[in-house]
Symmetry: C2
Subunit: 237 residues, 2 copies
């Protein structure tokens, strides 16, 4: 049995718009004495920016800083250190909210804390709005309906794996587009799906941009960008 | 250009827990004069039950009743009629919130209204927490990490299509399990994935149930049930 300790909450704060946070995430954010947040090596934490209108003065904050560029995998040592600091608060019976963009269990950075702390501490995960449905909403284009199969495919995969997976589904969401944009355009064009593809960066944020993929001429995109491919656009009609 | 009319909001109210609604959905639910909700032919509307703590007296309500069992496709005539009633309010410059469980564009019933009204009226979609991430949260098991591919597969598919799709991904979410439970167990067992599979019904609701799939002995499940299959359980560690 786990000792009497604080609870670690993995809190999804959603895709960017601070209004797309849930009531439950809000309640927990306001109630905990300690908030941990991921951030790039320099500059602002997107998760903290989303959460900040809901945080209160005097909360202890634990920044978890590391490179977030595509292809650079999380540094184990940084998470070891953050997990140790969080464990210290939990052991002292202080609840901790570890926030992340989107959803903690959907490609979320929270997983690396979960992997280190789940055996010893009580953890509760508060799901968040994913970039998946946020992107569909801002495009005004349904993701999937009825018996459609939907694939979520990370852009860093090899070109042949991408091609096979995009070919074999009814709808496809490509995440972590970043520096892989020209490879993706090549694959999608080869499959004859360029006109079925839409691009979204920073969905629901102030700097959001949406466009048919065919209008995107650059070769690189922000890490937080997505391509949606619909093969059966009228499945819901 | 569209005429000056009310706006149709497609509002995702999340998976079941009324606290898993977003601030944005809440604001719109409280502000609109008209709320449309889907329901089975008889009995309560799940979406309305989730939303009801946030609704106010005097709102006009439009019930959209139809069979929701797996395999029964939405009745076009029912949606035609509902779209007509909603259009009447929009034309009179009254905003309408059409609510649905989960997310409007993720296998949501809102799509059938969207297909009928998007050409003539202004529509805004408010994304909601999907059953996908809600199920992962209540199981305490991450969905996907790093470069995992994730497949969303509707249970009504044919057995060979299910087998091929489950075999060819790192993580798989099977939705609309319902009456297809014994077929799914057969396929998953054949792929040697029974011990990688977890079952969730009514995620985040008061009657929620979670279990390893191997402990589920019945042959049929509620429509709102899900199976999560993880092949690389430790991808985040």
């Amino acid at each position: 049995m786990k000792r009497s300790t604080g609870t670690l909450y993995g809190v999804g704060v959603g895709p960017g718009d601070p209004e797309l946070i849930t009531l439950k995430a809000l309640r927990i954010l306001k109630s905990v004495p300690v908030v941990a947040w991921p951030a790039p090596l320099e500059g602002e934490s997107l998760a903290r920016t989303i959460a900040s209108p809901h945080m209160r003065d005097g909360q202890i904050e634990i920044p978890i800083r590391m490179p977030i560029e595509a292809g650079v995998f999380p540094s184990g040592a940084v998470y070891d250190e953050a997990a140790k600091e969080i464990a210290h608060h939990l052991t002292a019976e202080r609840d901790v909210a570890a926030i992340c963009e989107g959803d903690p269990f959907f490609y979320g950075s929270f997983m690396y804390l979960f992997g280190r702390l789940a055996d010893a501490y009580t953890i509760e995960v508060i799901p968040g709005i994913t970039s998946l449905t946020a992107a569909a909403a801002v495009l005004g284009r349904p993701l999937a309906a009825r018996n459609d199969t939907l694939a979520v495919v990370p852009a860093p995969l090899e070109e042949d794996a991408l091609e096979r997976r995009i070919a074999d589904c009814d709808a496809c969401v490509i995440i972590k587009v970043g520096q892989h944009l020209s490879k993706l355009r090549r694959v999608i064009d080869r499959l004859g799906l360029l006109n079925n593809s839409h691009y979204v960066e920073y969905a629901t944020m102030v700097n959001q941009r949406t466009s048919p993929l065919s209008d995107i001429m650059v070769d690189s995109a922000p890490y937080f960008s997505i391509i949606l491919i619909h093969k059966r656009g009228g499945a819901w009609q």
